[in-house]
Structure formats: C-alpha cells, structure tokens
C-alpha cells in the first residue's frame, strides 16, 4: 500500500466533484424533459380528467412501473447496448448519463404526477367555468399551482441522481463514486473514502437546502 500523494489527490477530488455535478446536472435536465411531460400525461389521461384515455394511461403507467422496478445497477448493465448505440461507448461520464436519465425519468414522472394530483380540483373546476381550454388549464392553473411542490419533488429526484451517479462511478463512470471505489475500496485508503462521503453529504445538503428555499419562495411572493 502506497502513501497517498495528497497534492495529486485534491486535484482528483476536484475533477471527480465536477464530474458528479455534470453527470447529475445534465441527467436531471434530460430526465426532466422526459419525466415532466410524462408525469403531466399520467395525470391528464386519468379517468375523469382533461384528456381521459384509458389505454394511454395504462400503457404509460405500466412502462413507468417496469422501469422503476429495475434496480439502477442492473439497469445500467442491462442497457449497455442501448448506451453504446446512443453515445458510442459504455464507459465514462457521458455514457453514465444514459442509464441515469432512463432511471430518473420515470421517477420524476411519478413525483410530478403526485404534485399535480395535490392541486385542489376546485381550481380546475373554476378554470373550466371560465371557459379555459384544456391546455390553458394545464399550463395556467395546474402547473403554476403545483410549482412549489414540484420543486420540492425535483429536489428529491436530484438527490436520487447524486446517489445513482455515485453508483455509476463503480463501473467506470467517473465522479465521486468512482474516486471512492478506486482509491478507497480497491487501494484500501479509507481516509479517501471518508473525504468523498463527506463531499457527497455536503452536496446533498446543498441541493436540499436550495430546493427548500426555492420551493418556499414560490409558495408565496
């Protein structure tokens, strides 16, 4: 077991942190682009809702459930061919983002669904009585009314992504997870493990704190 060269180590930590931020950030954006419309669709195609459609609802519902029931680590391996198809490789930060997006999108869809279902049906009723179109009801009533809760739920998704991205590191995806595994686990430097764990804790705290703040700010004023 070699001594750690701390000056090199801190550079690695910095790079790994950036990789984690990039992975989480971009995955969040792409997963939201998929998950938010999916979540809205899960609400409005429900029985008695604006675009009631049993078949569409059932299909979306089942697909979301299937993807949600596969553990991330399995999902990551299972879709390697797909990942290759999309980004041309199955290792590295970019490659890790493909399973991350597929993992997070249905999760976000469920969170968005629950946020929108919390909106008082009376507001939708008022909207209808004003002669609002279904699209106006979604984007001028449902979404704005749910915004504060949406932000809190997206915070949960972001933290889930931080965790998953660390897992992606275990199979060569880069980031803090990768660092922890390669230094701490494979080379028995438990102090390195500690540093990465602390960094992950700080990251999660920061995400949660900003989410709470933003959500509170949106609730009023």
């Amino acid at each position: 077991m070699r001594e750690i060269d701390w000056s090199v180590f801190w550079v690695d930590v910095w790079e790994a942190t950036l990789e984690t931020l990039v992975m989480t950030g971009f995955s969040l954006i792409f997963a939201s682009l998929l998950g938010i419309p999916l979540g809205i669709a899960l609400v409005v195609t429900r029985e008695g809702n604006l675009f009631e459609n049993k078949i569409v609802f059932q299909v979306l519902n089942v697909v979301v459930n299937i993807v949600r029931s596969v553990p991330f680590i399995v999902l990551m391996v299972a879709i390697i061919p797909f990942t290759r198809l999309i980004v041309g490789t199955s290792i590295g930060t970019t490659a890790a983002m493909v399973p991350l997006v597929i993992f997070a999108a249905p999760f976000i869809a469920r969170l968005v669904e629950s946020s929108l279902l919390e909106v008082d049906p009376g507001v939708v009723e008022a909207a209808k009585s004003m002669g609002a179109t279904p699209w106006q009801i979604i984007f001028r009533f449902l979404v704005p009314e749910a915004l504060s809760s949406l932000v809190l739920n997206l915070t949960i998704a972001t933290i889930g992504l931080v965790g998953a991205s660390a897992m992606a590191g275990a199979v060569g995806g880069g980031g803090l997870g990768d660092l922890a595994i390669s230094y701490g686990y494979q080379r028995f430097h438990s102090d390195v493990m500690l540093v990465t764990v602390i960094l992950l804790i700080v990251l999660v705290q920061l995400v949660q704190m900003s989410g709470n703040r933003l959500s509170k700010a949106l609730r009023r004023r």
């Binding site: 009376g122 507001v123 009723e125 009585s129 004003m130 002669g131 009314e145």
Partner: protein, 343 residues
Amino acid sequence: MITFENVSKQFTGSEGTFTAVKDVSFEVQKGDIYGVIGFSGAGKSTLIRTVNLLEEPSSGKVYVNGRDMMTLSADELRKERKKIGMVFQHFNLCESKTVFENVAIPLRLSKTSKKDIQPRVKELLQFVGLGDKSDHYPDQLSGGQKQRVGIARALATSPEILLCDEATSALDPDTTQSILDLLKRVNREFNITILIITHEMQVIRDICDYVTVMENGEMIESGSVFDLFSRPKAKTTRNFVNAVMQDQLPASVINMIHKEGKSNRLYRILFEGDEAGQPVLSQVSKQYHLDFNILHGQITELQDQPFGNLIVEFIGEENNIQQAVEHIGNRLTVSEVNINERD
C-alpha cells in the same frame, strides 16, 4: 334566461345507479335572483353545474339564453361559459397568484390586451371593496375577502349570469350578510341574473325573488319568495321557513301559558306588504272591546316588502273575539293556534 326542462342526472357507480336530480323544470327570468334551497345531498350542486355543463344532464335540457348547451361544440361551449360567471363555496382561488392576478385570469384567457386588464381589474376590486388588497395572496385574506375575490373574478368578463354554489356557506353570519349585500349590488347595478344554491333560508329571505325547494333530487315546491314564506306547503319548506321566521311559539311561552292556566284564544296573524303598516290590532281592540297580548312575533322584509308574523292572545268576550277575528280575516291571513298540537 335559464330554463331547466325535465332535467335529470344519474350517477353510475360501483353500487349501481344513483339519481341525484330528478325531472327538474323551472325558469329563471332575466334580472332575477333565483334561489334553490335544500338539505345536503339534495342535488343542488349537481343541478347548478348543468347550467354551464360542468355536469351533463342524463336527460332533459338546459337552455341558456334560448340556446341548448348540449348542442354546442367544445369551442362554442367555452365561449358561452365566459358569459356565465361562477362563484364557489370554497372560493377555488389560485393560491399561487395574487388577488390581482386571480381576477385577471379570465381576462388573460380571453386574450384581453394588457392595457385593458389593469384598469378593469382595479375597477372590479374597487367594486368588491378590495381596492387595497391587489398584491395580497389568497392565504393572507379572510374567508369573506376570498369570496369577494371570487366574485370579482366571476364578473371579470362581464357575464350575463352569475351562478353561486353555496357562496356563503363557509362564512360566519356577519360575513354572509356582507356577501349577500354584494350579490344584491351585482344584480342591481349590472343587471346580472343570479342563480344561487344554498341550504340557508336566510340567503333566500334576504336576496332572492324566486325560490325552488329541492329534496332527494326533486323539486318539492317553487314560487315567489313572498308566497313561499307566507304560505309554505311542504313540510320541508315549513321547516326551512321556521328556521328564519320562527312562527312557532317558543317553549318558554307555551310553559308560561300552561302555568297560568289560560285558555284564551291564540291566533297567528300574517302581515304582508302594505297591510303591515296598518294599525289593525289596535283598531279591532277598540271596536270589539278586547285586550290583546302579543306573545311572539317577527317582522322582516321579503323582496323589499315588509312581512310580519305575530302570535296574539285576545282577551275578552267570546263573541267579540269571534267577530274581531273575522274582521282581521278580511284583510289579513289569520289562523287559530292550538298550543297542544306541535308540528
């Protein structure tokens, strides 16, 4: 203005079919305030929601301004809905928007230009007495203030009809009164026809011109508020009238009569309209040499006419009492009250 023609509504659920509204027919004339009263579950909300087709009738027709709402395309229906304002029991405001934005929504939906929205919303907020609350959020308002916002919002697109589903049921008596006054002003100043649903007879008494009583989905009685109050027929109607008119003797008075062992004759006299201003009692008292004792009574106003209800004890010779009652009966409604029988 609004015509219900044999309107029925069935809900089919897992426990079979339930008829919430059964064969309801009546008409609301332009400029009137029309009330529908009934206990919880009578089908009132279901009925009012058929007007703007938030609920489709299972059978029968609803005409608004002569148009059968069921025949309209989705787009035409939305246009018609803009001419029908609606106010809700639980206000249904957007919590994420300011008072100003709440009132502005219907205008934005119909693509009113920004420079027209500002003065219109200001004017509406002024009208409902919330000129200074423009930038507040609904959760900073009291129930009564929220309902004022609801009313301003419903008026934004200058509708011809205002539907109120239990607009005052979540409010305390004082606030109820102030909202009723506001609705009356809406009716008078803008000549807006109002259909109001309630389970409080006070609402009917204070602002309505016509009323329909509903029970178990059916209309059981209908007519002008004055007729309904002065001559309620159905038992439920009488109970509703009693709730605000108290034309029954209170127990304490009955006990007092029993204790004093009086067997004198008690009469209920209804004063209506102009007659309420006449000194009838003192006239008969002088003419037939009788004393009278008012045991219980109430004078109120119905459709801007005085309406009184007195329970009077006459003391004097049997013959004279008989004649006096006949005399009163020529001009007013009078009936003997039997204190042993209670309905």
